[in-house]
Symmetry: C2
Subunit: 553 residues, 2 copies
C-alpha cells in the first residue's frame, strides 16, 4: 500500500484541476489543469446565438466530462504513478451549480429538443437572475416562521438551488416538466464517475436548504402550486452522502475516460471551499479556515449548534462528519484590491513596479508595510460588492473616510486591506458572541502569498495565522476524501493528520499594532453599524438612484 | 482722455502680473508676469541655510519690488501704450501676508542685523505655524464675548495678522521690539509706490480684525502683557483707506522703477479675490462672485449686516465702499481634482488623454458629462483639505460612499466635482438662511474653462452662471480701482459698468437635473452634518491617530 495514490479533482469556475496524491503522506506527485472550452456562458447561448439576459451565467456539462478525459490522465502521466496504484477518486465543485437532467442523468441541454433553451443548462453559482425568486422565498419563509431560515443567517441567496429551480419553473415550465432530476454539478460528476446518483451533505446543506429534511411541500406550494412536488419529484432520494463516504465504484465508462482502474472508490462530492479545510488540517472545533481569494469564505466546525448572526449557513456534517459546519463569508476581498489597482492607481506606481519587475500589488504592499498603524489616517468599509456576513446585504457599497490631499495610493491600498481584515474580525466576533469560540485561524487561497496582508490580519484579529502549505488545497482536500472513501484512513481527521499540510504561526500578532488596530476597529464598527444597520440609508438610496438613471448600453 | 490707461498689478503667491488697461472700455492692452526669485521660503532661510520648522512660509519683499521694476515696464512695452498716457496704478495682493518694518517702511529682513532671523521676513498667507496663537485668540475672544468674533463666523484663522504678530512676539521678542510697523504686503507695496503708509479697508477688515476699530488693548493684554500696545504702537494710523481711494502720488523713485509718470494716482491696495468682483461687474447686493481655482472664495455685498454661520468675515466696505462685504470659502476645490488626477487615475486614462492630445481633466470631464445625475451611485464630502465654510474646521477630511467594483475614475471625478458644488450650495443656503439673498451667481478663476464643472454648479445651485470674460480678472480689477483713484470714474460701480467684463447665462440649470440633484444633495447634507457636526467624530480621531503615528521623514 506504500505506493497507493488517490486523485482529487477541483472543478472551479473556468477549469478543472486534477492532482495525484500519495495516500501515505499527502505528497502531491503530479497535476494537470483543463480549461472549460465553454468557460462561463454569460452573453449568448452557443447553440443558437440567443442573447442571454443580464445576470445570467450558465455552463456546459460536456466541459466537466472533458476534465475527466483530459486532466486526469495528464495528471497521472505527470506524476509518474502507475494507474493501477490509484485507489480512489474524489471531486469538489463550485456551488450552487445545479442542472436539470433526465432520470438517467442525461443533461437536458445535451438533448436536441432542449439545447436551444437556456434553462436546460447548468446555472453556475454566479448566475444572479433568480433574485426575485430568492426574495419571495425569504419573505415567505419569514412569514411562515420556517425553522430553517435561521440556519442561513435569516436569508437564502439567489445563487442557491431552490431559487434557481423556481426560476426554471416560472420562466420555462417545459424544461421544468421535462427534467426528472435537478442536481448539483458536484453530484452529477460523481454520478458520471460511479453510475450512482447521490446528494452530498455539504452542497445539499449549504446550498439546498437541507436541514433534517428539505423545505416542506406546503411551503413550496405556497410559493407556486406547481412547485409543491419539487422535492419529492426531482430532488429526494436516498439519505445524503456523508463527506468522505463511498458513493460507488468507478464505472467502466469512467475508467476509460480517466485511465484509472475500474471499480476503485468514488467518494461523495464536496464544495471547493469546504473541502480545503482538512487539506489545512482544519478538522476540529475552534479552528476557523479562511479561504482568501477574490472573496473570502470562513469555515469552521463546532460541537454545538448555534445561530450565528449573518452566517451563510450551518450544516450538520457540512465540513466534517459529526460536527456542525459553519460557513460565513465576505463578498469582496481580493477583487476589491484588484479593482483598486485597475482603476485607482496612477501611472507612477505602475511604472515603478514594472521597473522593479514586480506587480503593482506587491509594490503597493511593500510601501504600505512600512507604515505605522493609523499613519494613513483612513478607515474604509469593504463593501464594494456588498456585504455577505454579517449584514447579508448586497446593496451596500464601499466607503472611505479620511482622504486628504496628501493621501497616496499605498495609503488607500492599506486601508482597503485593513477594511477586509476588520470585516473578518466582525465575523469572528459574531461567532464568539454566539458562543462559538474561534481559537485558531488558518488561511488558504491566493492571498496567503502577500505578507503585508497576512500581517494586517494577524494584528487585527490578534491571532497567529497558520497557512496551508499547498498551492492546490481544494484538489488536495478532495484527494484526502478519496483516501477515506477508499478505506485508507478511518476518517477525515486521520487523513488530515497524515496528508494535510500547514505551516503554523507564520504571521504572529504584534501587541502594539494590535492595540492600535483596536482603536481603528472601533471606528470601523461604528461606520459599519451606521451605514449597514439603518443609521444612514444612503447606500441603498444611491443604488436605487443609480439603477433609475438611464444607463447607456 | 481717450487714450488714458491704468496699470493693475496682481501679486500672487509665486509671481506678480502687471496689466495695462484702457480706462474708457477696460480693454487689456498688454501684460507681463515676473516670477518671485525667492518664490515661497518654506524649507530653509536663504540668508543662513537655517532649516525652517514645519508649516512655515515666508517671502522676501525684494521680490515685490522686482515686480514693479520688471513686470510693469514690460507690460507697458507690450501694450504699445505711451507711459505718459498712464494715469493711475493699483495693486492687489495675497492676504494675510504681514511683515515687520522700521518706521520708514524698511523691512527688518533687509537689515544686516535681522536678515538671519526668520521672524524678520513677511509671513505668507499660507504660513500656518501660528495655529497655537490663533487658538488662544479664539478661546479668549469667546470667553470674553468679544463682539467682533461673530463677524468672522466665530473663529479667526492662523493665517491672519494678529496670530502671526503674536507668534513674532512670543518666538522672537527682539524682532517684535525692533519693528516699528507690522504691515500687510499689500499696504507695504503701496507705501513703496506712493511714499504713504496706508491700511486698506479690505485687508484690515478680513485679515486684521478691524471692525469699527481693532481689538482692544485689554484683550491684547489678556493674551500677553507685552502685546497690549500692539495696535497703538505698530498698526494704528490714519483712518483705513477705502477701496478705490487715492493713497498718494507715484514717487520719483517708484516712477524710475516702473517707467510711469511721477505723480500719477496710486490707489489703496486690495486683496486678490475681492478685487476680482468689479472686474466681473459684481458690485451690487444679491450678486455672489465665486473665484474658483485650487480653492473657492465666495464674495458678495449686501445692504445689511448679518451673521452668516461659517463665513470667513463680513467687512464694512470690504469689497465695495458703502456695502457690507461678505466672504466665505471652500478650502479645497481645484486642488482636490488635481490630487485625484495625480494620485487616483489609472494609466489607461492618461494614455487615452495623451492620444487625443487633451489633458486628463478634460478627458475625465468629457466622460463624466455623458452621465445622468446619480448614475455613478456616489456621494462625496469635499473636505480633503478641511472645511472653511460653513464648518470652519480644517481637521475634517474627505469621504466617498457608494464605491462598487464597477466604479470608474470618471465616476469618482464627477462625484468630487458634485461634492464641491454641494459645498457651494451649502454656503449659499447659509447666506439665504441668514437673510442675505443670493440672486445671481458670477464665476471667475481657472475652473470656468471646464464646461462640465460649470454645468454641475448651475444644476446644483439652480442658478444661471455668469462668467468673467477676462483671464486676468484680479489685475483688471486692480486697474479699475486705479481708474477710480485717478478720478476717471466717480466710483467703482461706474468703473465696473464701463471696464468690467462678463458673459451672462453661459450655463443655465436644467430643471430635471436640478431635481435629481436635490435628492443627492439631501444625502450630502446628511453626511455633512453627521461627520461635520459631531454625529461621528471619526475624522478628528483619524487625524489625531495619524499625527501620533511616527512619521518617517
Amino acid at each position: 500500500m506504500a505506493a497507493a495514490c488517490v486523485v482529487g479533482i477541483d472543478f472551479g469556475t473556468l477549469s478543472g484541476r486534477a492532482v495525484v496524491v500519495r495516500v501515505e503522506d499527502g505528497a502531491e506527485l503530479g497535476s494537470a489543469v483543463h480549461e472549460f472550452p465553454h468557460a462561463v456562458i454569460e452573453r449568448e447561448l452557443p447553440a443558437t446565438g440567443e442573447r442571454l439576459p443580464r445576470d445570467w451565467a450558465l455552463q456546459d456539462p460536456e466541459d466537466y466530462v472533458e476534465v475527466l478525459r483530459e486532466a486526469v490522465p495528464a495528471a497521472v502521466a505527470a506524476s509518474g504513478v502507475a494507474p493501477e496504484d490509484v485507489v480512489g477518486i474524489a471531486i469538489d465543485f463550485t456551488a450552487s451549480t445545479p442542472m436539470p437532467t433526465l432520470a438517467d442523468g442525461t443533461p437536458l441541454c445535451a438533448l436536441d429538443a432542449f439545447r436551444d433553451r437556456p434553462h436546460a443548462y447548468p446555472k453556475l453559482w454566479k448566475h444572479h437572475a433568480a433574485q426575485g425568486q430568492a426574495d419571495r422565498i425569504n419573505a415567505l419563509a419569514a412569514d411562515r416562521g420556517e425553522p430553517w431560515l435561521a440556519r442561513y443567517g435569516g436569508r437564502i441567496s439567489s445563487e442557491w438551488q431552490f431559487a434557481k429551480a423556481l426560476q426554471v419553473l416560472e420562466e420555462d415550465p417545459a424544461v421544468y416538466d421535462a427534467m426528472d432530476r435537478f442536481i448539483e454539478g458536484a453530484d452529477w460528476v460523481v454520478w458520471q464517475l460511479s453510475g450512482e446518483e447521490t446528494r452530498n451533505a455539504c452542497t445539499a446543506g449549504y446550498k439546498g436548504i437541507f436541514q433534517d429534511g428539505y423545505p416542506s411541500a406546503a411551503f413550496l406550494a405556497a410559493l407556486d402550486e406547481r412547485f409543491a412536488g419539487f422535492v419529492a419529484d426531482k430532488l429526494a432520494g436516498p439519505p445524503l452522502a456523508a463527506l468522505g463516504s463511498r458513493a460507488g465504484a468507478l464505472t467502466a465508462r469512467a475508467a476509460a475516460w480517466t485511465g484509472l482502474p475500474e471499480g476503485i472508490a468514488v467518494a461523495a462530492a464536496n464544495v471547493d471551499a469546504h473541502v480545503t479545510a482538512p487539506a489545512a488540517q482544519v478538522t476540529g472545533p475552534g479552528q476557523m479556515l479562511m479561504v482568501m481569494g477574490t472573496s473570502t469564505c470562513h469555515m469552521m466546525s463546532a460541537d454545538t449548534l448555534a445561530e450565528v448572526p449573518g452566517m451563510c449557513g450551518v450544516v450538520d456534517g457540512g465540513i466534517v462528519p459529526g460536527l456542525w459546519g459553519y460557513e460565513a463569508g465576505q463578498s469582496g476581498v481580493g477583487d476589491i484590491f484588484a479593482w483598486f489597482v485597475d482603476n485607482a492607481v496612477p501611472p507612477r506606481c505602475h511604472d515603478a513596479a514594472a521597473e522593479r519587475g514586480i506587480d503593482v500589488h506587491t509594490y503597493l504592499s511593500e510601501l504600505a508595510a512600512e507604515q505605522e498603524v493609523g499613519e494613513h489616517g483612513l478607515v474604509a468599509l469593504d463593501w464594494h460588492s456588498g456585504n455577505r456576513s454579517v449584514l447579508v446585504d448586497h446593496t451596500l457599497s464601499g466607503l472611505i473616510v479620511g482622504l486628504r490631499l496628501s493621501t497616496g495610493p499605498e495609503d488607500v491600498y492599506r486601508a482597503l486591506v485593513e477594511a477586509t481584515a476588520f470585516g473578518t474580525r466582525t465575523i469572528i466576533e459574531a461567532f464568539e458572541g454566539a458562543g462559538i469560540a474561534v481559537d485558531e485561524l488558518f488561511v488558504a487561497g491566493g492571498l496567503i502569498k502577500n505578507p503585508m496582508i497576512m500581517q494586517v490580519y494577524a494584528d487585527v484579529t490578534r491571532r497567529p495565522l497558520h497557512l496551508i502549505d499547498s498551492e492546490q488545497g481544494a484538489a488536495l482536500g478532495a484527494a484526502m476524501h478519496a483516501a477515506v472513501a477508499a478505506g485508507a484512513y478511518g476518517d477525515i481527521h486521520a487523513a488530515a493528520g497524515a496528508m494535510g499540510k500547514v505551516r503554523r504561526d507564520v504571521h504572529v500578532p504584534d501587541a502594539d499594532r494590535a492595540a492600535a488596530y483596536d482603536r481603528l476597529f472601533a471606528h470601523y464598527a461604528r461606520l459599519h453599524d451606521h451605514f449597514g444597520r439603518g443609521g444612514d440609508d444612503v447606500m441603498h438610496a444611491l443604488a436605487r438612484i443609480g439603477t433609475e438613471a438611464p444607463v447607456l448600453d
